[in-house]
Amino acid sequence: MKSRSLSLLLALFLLVIAVTGASAQDSVKVEIYFPIAVDSPITEILQGYADAYMADNPNVEVVWSFEGGYGDVKNRLLTVAEGGGELPALAIMLATDIYDLRNAEVIQPLDGYASEEYLADFTPTWLSNSYYDYDGDGTQELYGIPFQRSTVLLYYNADLLTEAGLAVPSNWEELATAAQALTTDSRQGILVPNSWPYWVFQPFVAGAGENIVSDSDVEVFFDTPAVVDALQYWVDLYNVYHATPVGVQSNWGDAPGALVDGAAAMIVHSSGSMRTILDNADFTVGVMGIPGKDGGQYTVTGGGNLYMTAGIDDATAQATWAFVEWLTQPERTVDWSIQTGYYNTRSSGFDLDAWKEYAGANPQADEARASVDFAAREFSVQSLGDVRDVFHAEILAVLNGELEPAAAMAAAQEQADQILSIFK
């Protein structure tokens, strides 16, 4: 009796092993490195997506691996790759890291997976940092699928503008005078967090008529009149208009709170902060691109793309791509946008009822969306760390009152050319 129940147990045990073994053989693990860059319940939202996907695809195991900020994810991936460790199948990293990542041979081209129809539905601006002609054959390959994307926006306290009888600023002059008029002893007219300047600076440069980068990956335009103008305008905002604190402001984290509390009338910030600002402000919040020098609105793209790692086996790659397509279906990108404040990257998503309902209740979301169409390409070139360093250093020298804009930008251009010379 006893031995019979024992052998029964053994048989059961073997069966369980066989079943799990078989399922382990068929199931594919898709691990994803993900950075946490904003203050929203990202982990729960993503786990919800994974659970939903796995319920429909029982042979796929989706595992999110949260690795800190964008820099941590990139460093982790590069370190694991170098040490010969097991790479994840997918990672969210900055769109601007495309050259570094491809050069390090940790990501793979996606042209074989992405159909033209699929790509056509992405708002084209988002793909402006997704292509790279690595092998130099004249054809760009696709590497980054837009997912966690943002732009630079001007947020303003519309009630204060109305009270002061001011129109919504439409050019640099109006922006500066409005900011000046709204400045009091306890309130800054405008906050432009400029301690990590390039991203917030780019819309101002674009507003003066040019971008600091072209489509080339080995060319920058730091010493053009547009850049010098924009930098001079930043300086004028405090030196001439006294509408913002003098010099370098390390207030990226504080600016949204300052707007909400009434300590600032306008701020320049990421679209990613919209959720927090709208949820907490007890006044009408206005949202727009950065006014151009002579009118118009300007902004620049930002945020992260999905990259598929190189060297994963074919089955994993297929499963990973299927998940990428599912994750970037309009239903998901709209839901992601509503829950986090990042943009919906799919054009057809704007036709969905969920979006229409949301945009109806939050007109700011639609205003921000409009900025995407005129967003400039984000600063990204080869040796980005080096080139960005010299650009930042010279901008900060101007803000600290050490150099004049023209001299500083000429110096930045010279150093950048020197760094990029190895690629020519």
Partner: protein, 329 residues
């Protein structure tokens, strides 16, 4: 005698190799080889290799922008064997590596020369201040020691607020003293390094105070009594008795302080990370930056070799100096 007992028996003849002690340190020794000696040797080897994994694997005519490397058709990504090219570049200020190296060494030197004596002076002053049997002296001791208990990252984060222009505590205090200069201490070519030094001094003075306090409390009282009988004043006792008797504490503290100065990086990552280019970069921070931010592996490894050599010199000198000190006693 069983064989085991024989192994552990004292070595009578003195010629046979006494195995057990070696067996006992073997596990530690393996770890030291694996995690200290092997990495040290491999970084020496890696410092002779050009490797820029963030550059594309494109072949072109290039001298890799390194002195002593002949122009040839090669990949700008590497890896390539370049011998001592990085060390040559570091000694040649006209190369970008040389420019960086000179600046970083100058920064590190200024940082060390200022923070070490100031920290030690403060530590000694604090120790003398709290080395009394007064009521509530414990509170003063805690107050001086408190910064030590904070991780450097937290200390730097606190100072991030102190250094805030306009209303930051540090600037408010300075203004009360009549300061009218720049208030942006962190993201500033002129002041960034000073900000790091201030945080380091604030953080470490309390730590070294403990050593001085321990030293002060173990001083023999009879010499002071004798000095009192001779009518020696406070100043004489300080310079003729206390300081000479604390000589070994001072030596120990100075070596530890110098090594700490080379090893601190956390506050740079919190305060000036990637925001001040060059002017506030210390050696260890520069290694991190070259390796992880700029992807210049060979240069990062060459800088690491310099770092290892500097620390080795200080560690060895500490070892020999303190050995000699104990012989004297």
């Amino acid at each position: 005698m069983t064989s085991v007992a024989r192994i552990f028996a004292p070595n009578e003849r003195g010629k046979k190799i006494n195995l057990p002690p070696y067996l006992l340190i073997l596990p530690t020794f393996i770890f030291v080889i694996l995690f200290t000696i092997y990495p040290t040797l491999s970084v020496f080897r890696a410092s002779q290799e050009y490797y820029h994994p963030n550059r594309p694997n494109r072949t072109q005519m290039t001298d890799l922008n390194l002195p002593g490397v002949e122009e040839a058709s090669r990949s700008i990504r590497g890896p390539h064997e370049v011998g001592l090219a990085y060390f040559r570049a570091m000694l040649d200020p006209s190369t970008s590596e040389g420019e960086t190296f000179f600046q970083v060494m100058r920064n590190t030197l200024v940082y060390t020369i200022i923070t070490v004596p100031v920290t030690m002076l403060l530590a000694f002053a604090f120790a003398v201040l709290v080395n009394r049997s007064l009521r509530w002296i414990g509170i003063a001791r805690v107050a001086f020691f408190y910064p030590t208990m904070l991780p450097l990252v937290s200390a730097a984060t606190i100072w991030l607020f102190f250094f805030t222009p306009d209303y930051g505590l540090w600037n408010v205090a300075l203004r009360l003293l009549g300061y009218t200069g720049q208030e942006n201490w962190i993201i500033n070519r002129d002041l960034g390094l000073w900000a790091l030094m201030i945080v380091s001094i604030w953080k470490n003075a309390g730590y070294f105070m403990i050593f001085y306090l321990a030293g002060l409390q173990s001083l023999p009282q009879d010499v002071y009594e004798a000095a009192d009988l001779d009518g020696a004043n406070w100043l004489t006792k300080m310079f003729r008795i206390t300081l000479p008797l604390l000589r070994r504490t001072t030596l120990f503290v100075s070596v530890v302080a110098i090594i700490t100065a080379f090893q601190n990086i956390d506050h740079a990552l919190v305060l000036t990370n990637e925001l001040v280019t060059g002017e506030a970069d210390l050696l260890l921070y520069e290694i991190y930056k070259q390796r992880f931010v700029l992807g210049n592996y060979g240069f990062a490894n060459a800088l690491t070799v310099v770092m290892i050599l500097v620390l080795l010199i200080f560690t060895l000198s500490n070892f020999f100096l303190s050995e000699r000190g104990s012989d004297e006693r």
